[in-house]
């Protein structure tokens, strides 16, 4: 079986076993066992909901440490467009790019600029009529993970193009090899990421056989490194190339704006995305041409590793997109952007490979569920009574994990004791 890789992990020391996260996880991937949360890796889609909801900040995304840039002679930063919206002191894209250079990079390459080429190729794909409609964007890896985990019948609707991030990396490397004396491992390419899902993609890219990025730094980590160097006035160099059409990818709805589509749905927030995917599976949206689905509220500006309030960041990015220096045209780059490796359906979590055994287990789940209180309180560490029944049959839990059941038992036991003492008198 294929390895399942995700970047969201638990800091066991910080986890109090409070069960706040288990109900928010859209794929019911979290359980609390022995007072600590555990992520079932086959189910985790890297959406970061649990990072947002944990009151003790015990859920985190694995990103790289900034020091790693010192292992490379020529270091290139790839900022995601949503990064531009993080700073109240910066009104120009140019000043953020300059600050990145001052923070230690030798060059920057805007992911927004690469996105303009993705927009062009996406338009061509839509026009070819080869894809099943509604076409679903593939820019948010958490959504692609969700589809391959829970809605695999919709994989044929997903745009089979590599992400702007990976295209930016490939372009940046080529340009660096042309204009500098550095080659191969001397050049380090670092993505500045709003989320865990994209951090995972820097290591295991969707649609590419191997990674093209050397490290991922979070918005949070880079924020502190960039802020001291921000200066809107002093940026004479011409670093920024992206235009309106690229920068607006930061917000939900930006992709469809740059695609100039009319018949579309732009949906943000993982729970809303689930709702829309269900409608598509039920054939209810066959008259819609395109669905831009992003796991985070507002789009990548609302990423779990973002610093700024996502509504503030959205407005800021919109303004910056309007004054962006580039003309928004697709850059020239000779490369086939179609996925070289297809996205695999994640193995469905059936109860047993033998269907008859699975049927017996399913009947057992129903039987146990009938006995449970149906309060869905989560105190047992499973997200619902139904999930507990399933966990019991899978061998991960016991019926006495249910606090209500346990109380009933104690009460029964206490009564028996009392009855016993009555008899003695």
């Amino acid at each position: 079986m294929d390895k399942i890789i995700h970047s969201v992990t638990l800091d066991t020391d910080k986890c109090k076993g409070c069960t706040n996260c288990i109900k928010m996880c859209p794929t019911q991937a979290i359980r609390v066992r022995k007072n600590k949360a555990k992520i079932i890796k086959e189910l985790c889609i890297d959406c970061g909901e649990c990072i947002r909801v944990c009151p003790y900040h015990a859920k985190k995304a694995v990103t790289d440490s900034f020091d790693m840039i010192n292992n490379y002679k020529y270091k290139i930063a790839l900022p995601a467009p949503a990064f531009y919206g993080q700073f109240d002191k910066a009104t120009k894209i140019e000043s953020i790019l300059h600050a990145l250079i001052k923070a230690g990079f030798d060059d920057v390459f805007e992911v927004a600029y690469a996105a303009q080429l993705i927009t062009k190729r996406t338009k061509e794909l839509i026009a070819s009529g080869e894809l099943e409609t509604p076409i679903i964007n593939s820019a948010c890896p958490a959504v692609v993970n969700l589809i391959s985990t829970k809605y695999p019948s919709l994989l044929n609707n997903v745009i089979p193009l590599i992400s702007p991030m990976n295209l930016a990396a490939i372009m940046a490397r080529k340009i660096a090899e042309e204009k500098t004396p550095y080659k191969g491992g001397e050049i380090g390419i670092f993505f500045i990421t709003p989320c865990a899902a994209k951090a995972t993609c820097t290591k295991y890219p969707l649609g590419l056989p191997e990674s093209v990025i050397d490290g991922a730094f979070s918005f949070k980590d880079m924020y502190l490194k960039v802020v001291p160097h921000l200066n809107d006035k002093e940026c004479e160099q011409d670093l920024s190339k992206a235009g309106f059409k690229g920068v607006c990818w930061a917000n939900c709805g930006g992709e469809v704006v740059s695609l100039e589509l009319d018949n579309y749905i732009a949906v943000d927030g993982i729970h809303n995305v689930i709702h829309v995917l269900e409608e598509i599976e039920n054939d209810k949206l066959s008259d819609v041409e395109y669905v831009e689905a992003l796991a985070c509220t507002g789009g990548c500006v609302g990423g779990p590793l973002a610093v700024e309030n996502n509504f503030v960041a959205q407005t800021r990015v919109k303004k910056m997109a309007k004054t962006a220096r580039g003309n928004g045209e697709a850059p020239e780059f000779d490369m086939d952007l179609v996925w070289q490796t297809p996205i695999k359906i994640r193995k469905q979590r059936n109860l047993d490979d033998d269907m008859f055994v699975a049927m017996e287990k399913l009947a057992k789940i129903d039987e146990i569920y009938d006995r449970l209180p149906k309060l869905d309180c989560g105190s047992c560490g499973s997200p619902s009574c139904r999930a507990l029944a399933e966990d019991i049959v899978r061998g991960y839990s016991k019926e006495s994990d249910c606090i209500i059941k346990f109380k009933e038992k104690i009460a029964l036991f206490a009564n028996e004791m009392l009855d016993g003492s009555d008899n003695v008198e």
Binding site: E278, K284, Q348, M355, M359
Partner: protein
């Protein structure tokens, strides 16, 4: 155990829960390890039938029986019955009220889609008595 049987009661009063039974069936099929494309066919067919029971027939009962070979669905209601099956099966034919159309139903595509997504479909209906729709989706991929 050589088949798995499950029954769903469809509430005719409440639009907001319409679709819940097909969502539950989907979970059942997933935990039994049925192929995703087959699951989709069976759940879309059942979803359309379920919605019809709510909109046109005041609810009813759905029985599903699953074997490794097929998914067998029986949808029974005590609604008004369908006067002309051939007409009802025509794409675009609908008697849905304006109220229902405002909710996004009533395109007249439900029954045609049920036929499209299933390998067998049979409708037995009697005016004033009710409608029973039997559907089979084969689980082999061929």
């Amino acid at each position: 155990m050589n088949s798995f049987k499950v029954q769903y009661t469809i509430d005719g009063e409440d639009f907001s829960v319409a679709g819940e039974a097909s969502r539950k069936l989907k979970k059942v099929l997933q935990s039994l390890g049925v192929d995703p494309q087959i699951i989709r066919k069976a759940t879309v067919a059942m979803y359309e039938g379920e919605i019809n029971m709510v909109i046109h027939a005041d609810g009813g009962v759905i029985d599903a029986e699953i074997t490794p070979e097929k998914i067998h669905l029986f949808l029974r209601d005590k609604g008004p019955g369908i006067p002309d099956i051939a007409l009802a099966m025509t794409e675009g034919f609908s008697t849905a009220s304006d109220n229902v159309r405002e909710l996004g139903f009533g395109a007249g595509m439900g029954l045609p889609n049920m036929e499209k997504y299933t390998d067998y479909m049979n409708i037995i209906t009697e005016i004033g008595v009710g409608t029973t729709i039997e559907m089979i989706v084969n689980t082999s991929l061929s």
